[in-house]
Amino acid sequence: MKTVGKIYSIFIYLCLYAPIVIMVLYSFNAVRSTSALSFDYASSKYEFGHWYAEAFQNEYALNALRNSLILALLSAIAATLLGTLAAYGLHHLKMRRIRSAITTVTNIPMMNPDIVTGISMMLLFATVFAIIRIGETGFATLLIAHITFNLPYVILSIMPRLRQMDKNLPEAALDLGCTPVKSFFLVQLPFLFPAILSGFIMAFTLSLDDYVISLFLSGPKFETLPVFIFGLARKSVPPTIYALSTLFLIMVLGLLVFSNIMQARMEKKNNIN
């Protein structure tokens, strides 16, 4: 039985990761092809890492990458701030019904198919622009949209942690002479921090990831990497895309590892306490 289980898990992992591994391999391909994979650089007109060099020389790609990172960072920070406040407020709402009603409403951007969110936001901005007679989709519209769809994830990641918190903890802080503000920053915030961090990282990766919503809301002055990459794939997919995607993957992977390490450390510390 054990071997069956092992084989099963190996199979599942293979299905999950084989495409990614193959993409990474192709990003080091010595020929420009999607059928032949070769590492024979000696007889190739390309040197090792050519597609990476090309990706790094492509100013538009780098610009799109930079845009993606800036947007992910800012939208994640904003969503984390707003989300923490919202979760805190929701948790302290006395009336249960209202709380569950509000929670449902805040979850809508998460449940909505991306394409609906994207189109409806584009329509909204188009109307606003028509009324004020100026404006263009771009950084501002993207930022608003990304904060919107990031928000529920942040709230969802913080709420359970709030429920875990001993109700007596803030009260004890008050008893010991903290002001409510001090109690929040010195006692409750450190307790919530792992959840806030994972909410932030979730928001960051989601924003980095998003294609559908960004497609409708990006403008000539501001385009994100996924939108740029898809635009490239008109004919055959050029290997530079594999290189860019691999870099993208490494970034997201790095963040995941980082957040896991942080969490593991914090749990360890909490257990010691």
Partner: protein, 388 residues
């Protein structure tokens, strides 16, 4: 506190990464090219083009956007789309404004009809004279001017569909008649590829059977359906991009695809060859247009003119691999040499049957696909479902 510090550190690293990317990439490769002063110096030009549809410095090409920026001191903001429909959504939403777009023929017809593009002042584009006459006059998507002259567009690339086949597996007598019939030859059963989009797949059948590809007659489409149903058991599959792998790897012997893309396949696999079937084929044109909402029309005209200039147009055509409507390119010795005899003849040597008496391409034989009316589109969709 430590955690928060670590967190801020992470944020700072990401921010630093962002900034460091901003500074690299710029190069002064083109600083020796002479600058030209115009009233548009210092302004910004917004260009919206297909992905991979302009020479961008890769594979030893010239980065045309950079060169243009250098010569005219105009800042170009360049973005790309993957389909005509994607571009249309953006342009028609009214949330963006671009100064130059490069749609395909049927989409240009639609943009003109919906008043989303503006008339071009050809006087400001002296190099427009380089465009072959037959692409300036009588193109179905834009022929409202005097004697059927174009008013809204400047042709950018021309593409045609043909058959790519493997000379190792396909015997010579089977390609002698240069016909679409090869796609129905049962000798190559299981090794034939057709398009995986309804219009192109039906197009192949309709050219083979001598039917009108822009017909609104149900009976005509049913005939094409019959031909496709007949072909189905012989097919390896309906494919788009996968055809590169299949033909380059030698897994399929015969396939229909766009000539420009077939050049790439022939580059990879020397056993492949290509022809335009004599019965006729689909011809499609991408052309430059200026949207109604453009804010920098003057710079857009400069850019169009720049792209039509021999030196840059040759660079561009070599990169894009599609045929050019530009006489300066077609007659350029450099172009012929760089592209190679074989590739040049694939792109430009069309069968006699395609030509008018004066040597121009007869668009009754090498035909564009018109925008179909809703009823025909629905019919096509349902027939396509049935055949698949």
């Amino acid at each position: 506190m430590k955690k928060i510090l670590a967190f801020i550190l992470l944020a700072a690293t990401v921010a630093a990464l962002c900034l460091s990317f901003a500074s690299c990439g710029a190069s002064d490769k083109y600083k020796d090219i002479e600058k030209i002063d115009t009233p548009y110096k210092g302004s910004t030009l917004y260009v919206y083009n297909w992905g991979e549809n302009i020479a961008n410095g890769e594979d030893g090409s010239m980065d045309l956007v950079k060169v243009f920026e250098h010569i005219y001191g105009i800042n170009v903001v360049y973005s790309t789309y993957a389909s005509n429909e994607e571009m249309y959504t953006k342009i028609s939403s009214g949330t963006v404004s671009y100064d130059l777009i490069i749609p395909s023929d049927y989409m240009i017809a639609r943009l003109i009809e919906e008043n989303l593009v503006q008339k071009i002042n050809y006087q400001n584009i002296p190099n427009y004279k380089n465009i072959l006459d037959n692409y300036r006059v009588g193109q179905y998507f834009d022929m409202g001017g005097a004697n059927g002259a174009a008013e809204y567009s400047v042709p950018y690339t021309v593409g045609m569909v043909g058959i790519v086949y493997n000379t190792k597996n396909v015997s010579e007598e089977d390609v002698e008649d240069q016909s679409w019939g090869l796609m129905w030859n049962s000798k190559y059963s299981g090794k034939i590829l057709n398009f995986n989009n309804s219009r192109d797949a039906f197009g192949v059948a309709m050219f083979y059977k001598g039917l009108d590809v822009n017909s609104t007659d149900e009976a005509v489409w049913n005939q094409a359906y019959e031909a496709l149903a007949q072909q189905k058991p012989l097919l390896k599959g309906w494919v788009m991009d996968e055809i590169f792998d299949e033909m380059e790897g030698g897994n399929a012997y015969v396939g229909a695809y766009y000539a420009g893309d077939c050049l790439n396949m022939l580059d990879v696999n020397e056993d492949l060859d290509f022809y335009y079937p004599v019965e006729g084929t689909n011809l499609f044109i991408d052309a430059m247009c200026i949207p109604k909402s453009a804010k920098n029309v003057g710079a857009a005209e400069l850019f169009i003119n720049f792209l039509l200039e021999e030196e840059y147009a040759v660079e561009n055509s070599l990169y894009i691999c599609y045929a050019s409507p530009n006489s300066a390119v077609i007659n350029s010795e450099d172009y012929k040499e760089e592209l190679g005899e074989d590739s040049y003849s694939i792109l430009y040597d069309v069968p006699e049957a395609y030509l008018n008496e004066d040597g121009t391409i007869n668009t009754k034989v090498a035909q564009p696909y018109y925008n179909l009316d809703t009823a025909t589109r629905d019919l096509l969709a349902s027939l396509w479902d049935r055949v698949k």
